[in-house]
């Protein structure tokens, strides 16, 4: 739908796999940070006087 590849990621982690969770979370954070701020699906808040 026009989202950059890599911004959306999927993983299957059991509640027993805490180390895998940490690793994946770190990898995803790093990958998304490399893509820069998201510009899509963002709705500017209405201007309030």
């Amino acid at each position: 739908m026009g989202i950059e590849p890599g911004r959306l990621q999927f993983s299957w982690i059991s509640s027993a796999e805490s180390t895998k969770f940490v690793t994946v979370a770190a990898q995803v954070t790093e990958a998304v940070r490399a893509l820069g701020p998201n510009t899509r699906f963002i709705k500017p808040l209405a201007e309030v006087a």
């Binding site: 739908m1 026009g2 989202i3 950059e4 590849p5 990621q9 999927f10 993983s11 299957w12 994946v24 899509r40 699906f41 963002i42 709705k43």
Partner: protein
């Protein structure tokens, strides 16, 4: 009047008179040309209201959701019958409640295509096996039916009803060698930026009237996510982000269930081809799971079933 109409009237009158059904859901002549409307016939004497021509595009499966009658006769084209199967699998109606009057279908006419090619308002329409003639003030135009079919009908590979108890006419030959997904592949080939822009343009005219949702036999939730206000999942205005969220989410709710009956696109007052979204999901379902919705009462749907060989390359 076509012979299918006669068979339908005869069948409906017979089923109602014998008490085999409490009502028959079919089509009657609309108040304006090319807009036949659904009709619930409850008395044999009213069976003469029923008609059948190239303007019976509405998906009648939409009208049996959660009905309480013990026996309902329903007129069903190929796509309607597939949606009836989906309804039965999703417990929205029981098979025993239905007497399906199948109609082998040669495709429905796209009223916009015909209207675009006529110089004025169309006042009368009549048709033969292969041609449709539209008449208005000072003009008469005849079209080859094949040229004015709805896009989804021209790509249809399931014209004959998949379930039926009665059949109004001989089965028709199914179209062979149809390339169903050329338009989806074209979008898939775009870069993310192009695709974002493409969908922005596609959805720009949307007025959020929800006609697509209301016409869709799959959209039977008592309260649709767009109508919820606590929590409010999606904004209710014309903001492009909200419009996009509505269309994408609606499409995903139809994943593995959509039969590409074209009800959404036909109902759209501004002519948005939102079938592009549901078709992408349909294509994925077919390629990844070998699944086409509504073909059998015996097989569980792709998203309702686990197989050890399900593809999962996207999970890491």
């Amino acid at each position: 009047m076509t012979s299918t109409t006669e068979i339908l009237r005869e069948t409906a009158a017979r089923l109602l008179a014998s008490g085999a059904v409490e009502m028959v859901i079919g089509f009657r002549q609309g108040t304006i040309p090319m807009m036949n409307e659904p009709c619930f016939v409850r008395k044999p004497a009213e069976a003469g209201l029923l008609v059948w021509d190239s303007h019976c595009g509405i998906n009648l499966a939409n009208y049996v959701t959660d009905r309480k009658e013990k026996k309902i006769g329903i007129v069903a084209k190929g796509c309607d019958s597939r949606n009836l199967v989906t309804h039965i699998l999703e417990n929205k109606i029981r098979r025993e409640q239905l007497v399906v009057i199948g109609v082998p279908c040669r495709g429905m006419a796209d009223k916009r295509k015909i209207a675009m090619k006529c110089p004025g308002e169309i006042l009368r329409v009549h048709e033969t096996e292969t041609a449709i003639t539209a008449e208005g003030e000072g003009f008469t135009r005849t079209f080859e039916k094949a040229d004015v079919l709805q896009h989804n009908c021209s790509l249809c590979t399931h014209r004959n009803p998949v379930i039926h108890d009665e059949l109004a006419g001989e089965p028709v030959e199914e179209q062979q060698g149809v390339d169903r997904y050329a338009d989806v592949r074209a979008v898939e080939a775009m870069s993310p930026e192009q695709r974002w822009k493409y969908f922005e343009d596609l959805l720009a005219p949307c007025i959020r009237c929800y006609a697509c949702r209301n016409a869709c036999p799959l959209c039977y939730c008592p309260t649709c996510f767009v109508d919820e206000s606590r929590p409010q999942w999606v904004g209710k205005g014309q903001d492009p982000v909200d419009v996009r969220t509505f269309h994408f989410l609606r499409a995903y709710h139809c994943a593995g269930r959509c039969t590409d009956c074209g009800a959404c696109e036909r109902a759209c007052p501004v002519g948005i081809n939102m079938r592009l979204f549901t078709k992408k999901l349909e294509k994925d379902c077919l390629e990844l799971f070998g699944w086409e919705a509504g073909l059998s009462l015996e097989v569980r749907p792709a998203l309702d079933h686990y197989r050890p060989n399900d593809p999962n390359d996207f999970i890491r």
